[in-house]
């Protein structure tokens, strides 16, 4: 019983942290009212969302061209050494189709909370076995991460 209480309070703490981080993630487009369920006593790992500060990223139906361009610049500086824009693997997997394979929350969590997700996420771990290089944390800001998703959407053909 005591143990359960501890787990519950831990979940509360975790959830509270997640909630406040989400507010900080100003570009995620998430509204804080849709925060994480606080009454869930089992903080199960959500393989669709991953783990990190991004919970519910709202994407517009149309591309934000300016944001995508910014994302492309960041990609050129920090990402394309290892990722091609096609579906061909270089050091890491090609980016073609990445926005259909993963939810935006997962992508943004993975590229900002890389080490934690490689240690936990089944898809990231499967990819590590293929690539044999742990993806480095490239010290991206929340805005950077969001812009990269927009660029990935553009790369996947969204107009």
């Amino acid at each position: 019983m005591k143990k359960l209480t501890i787990i519950c309070s831990l979940a509360l703490v975790l959830a509270a942290c997640g909630g406040s981080n989400q507010d900080n993630a100003s570009t995620s487009g998430a509204s804080s009212t849709e925060a994480v369920p606080v009454n869930d006593s089992k903080p199960a790992y959500d393989p669709n969302r991953g783990e990190g500060k991004f919970h519910d990223v709202k994407l517009a139906a149309k591309l934000d061209g300016k944001m995508a361009l910014n994302g492309e610049k960041i990609a050129d500086l920090k990402c394309t050494s290892c990722h091609k824009l096609t579906d061909e693997k270089l050091v890491g997997p090609g980016w073609k189709g990445v926005t259909t394979r993963h939810k935006p929350e997962w992508i943004m969590n993975f590229i900002t909370n890389t080490d934690a997700m490689i240690d936990k996420d089944p898809k990231a771990q499967a990819m590590l076995e293929l690539c044999m290089v742990r993806m480095p944390n490239q010290n991206l800001s929340d805005q950077d991460a969001r812009s990269l998703v927009e660029f990935m959407r553009k790369n996947d053909g969204l107009k």
Binding site: D76, T80, S81, V133, N139
Partner: protein
Amino acid sequence: MKNYLFLSIATLLLAVSGCKPKNTGDAIDGDAASKVYVAPGKYDELYNFVSGGFSGQVSVYGIPSGRLLRVIPVFSVDPEKGWGYSEETKPMLNTSHGEIPWDDQHHLDLSQTNGETDGRWLFANANNTPRVARIDLKTFRTSEIIEIPNSAGNHSSPFITENTEYVVAGTRFSVPMDNDNGDVPISTYKQNFKGTISFISVAPKDGDMKIAFQLLLPGMNFDLSHSGKGPSSGWFFFSTYNSEQAHTLLEVNASKRDKDYILAVNWRKAEEYIKQGKGKKQVVKYAHNKYNESTHSATSIMENEVTVLDVKDFSDIVYMIPCPKSPHGVDVDPSGEYIVGSGKLAALIPVFSFAKIQKAIADKSFDGKYGGIPVLKYESALYGEVKKPGLGPLHTEFDGKGNAYTTFFISSEIVKWNIKDLKILDRHPTYYSPGHLSIPGGDTRKPYGKYLIAYNKITKDRYLPTGPELAQAAQLFDISGDKMKLLSDYPSIGEPHYAQAIPAEKLVKNSVKIFKLEDNKHPYVTMGEKNSKVVREGNKIHVYLTAMRSHFSPDNIEGVKMGDEVYFHVTNLEQDWDVPHGFAIKGAKNSELLVMPGETSTLKWIPEKVGIYPIYCTDFCSALHQEMQGYVRVSAKGSNVPISFSLGKNSDAPDSLLNK
């Protein structure tokens, strides 16, 4: 006969063991191990910065574990880190004598605010070719080096004032001034040789150093110094020896007089005179080198002027305090009232009182002059003497609880005594012959106390023998109780002289983990792999190279010809802590590069033979680190191979060849 021989050997052995301090076996406390044990993954309590002496560098240890954390290259080249070999760092070692690859680094002082260590910078002196360096404690890198003109043997340096207003640099050797004719007989020492003390101002915000003024003093040797604090703030104290003005066999000739001097400098007064324009400009030449963190490059400029105050012309800047027998350390207690002189050959420790010094000056209680400088009466300045403390006192530090700790070189021990009643409270042997000692914050207004580290000059049998040359021994003591307790030995690099220690929390929070790529303003930065390229400019070839786990871009380069100068500008595109990449090319005569995340570093390479030259990453960076390699083709002079570069384009033929 045989028996006699045996007997004399036995006597000799007895005599020898009698002289030697007792073995530590019985000196170690039962709980010593637990006091120095820092569990795997745990941090040490303090950083200990230790001068490297003839290594020219500064090493950083964790206390209490004694674990070596880092060696910071300062005055000596360091091929391991490319220091002094990369194009960006070469200017840091420039001097008025040209580029110098080595120096002798003796003393360190941490920057202070209100007399307490503030964790911003660490200052280091170069003894041989006089210089002062400032190390940035956010990056643990040397960020500025300034040469000292009119100086030789910059020993009483780089001690600082209690708000880091100034760093001082006093010359050990007196010499003719730089702009005087130096081609004079050595025997004209008394006429032509002068001493100087430089006051280097430190800009409060960015730490930029500037020689504010120099004091011109009579020819003698300036040894060590410490700033006043509290009531004595505004004053600086320098020990001197060779008041005999000997220029040969100083061992004998500079040890004749019963007393030498401690020089008390009223630097606030000197500062006033400088502001009033009373200094004289002198034409000199000295290098001033700065490292810019956003361009990741150093620049060296030659300064050509210094302002000098001849102390003879002013009656109230400096005073001489007689101090027995060639004083070495001059140390000021945390209250700022007591100044401890340590005569290397004296059998007592004089403690001077700042209040009495002030009164003596006001009362003109003088005992003649030395080189135009008023000499105070010994008794008028003296608070009291520590009687029979030991043999060969060198340096004193303080615990902030009213106690002083002095090292004794000849009797090989540390002696704890009370500053107020001058009574000896404890003594503990060291192994062997300590020079400096360091108590964390022990020269500040607020010592941290708890530990004392002795830096011993002689190691002998303390570690497994390693041939004739041995690492020097630092010894950690617990001084939290009434009696000193020896906790551990740890070997050190070069020859440690002075050292400083600071609670870890003052530095940890500011420690830089990566350099942001976006802020990289290096003129040859490659912002992303897409921009990597090879550019020919006459016979200079600039390679804009990127490094990322686990490849360089480009990694195949052709079109280099004999007679070309090749510059590899390596930008590390990583943005994660502790992922440096290295860079090496076969036949390079300088060193490797070690490039931090977000940094750009340049290796100059002049090929000497036509052929294929491999390049590779020298720092194990990932599982595919051994794959992080490439080739550079060098063609004959006049060859028509054009510049080309690529990454990832493999040739088609090899499989069929392998199958043959």
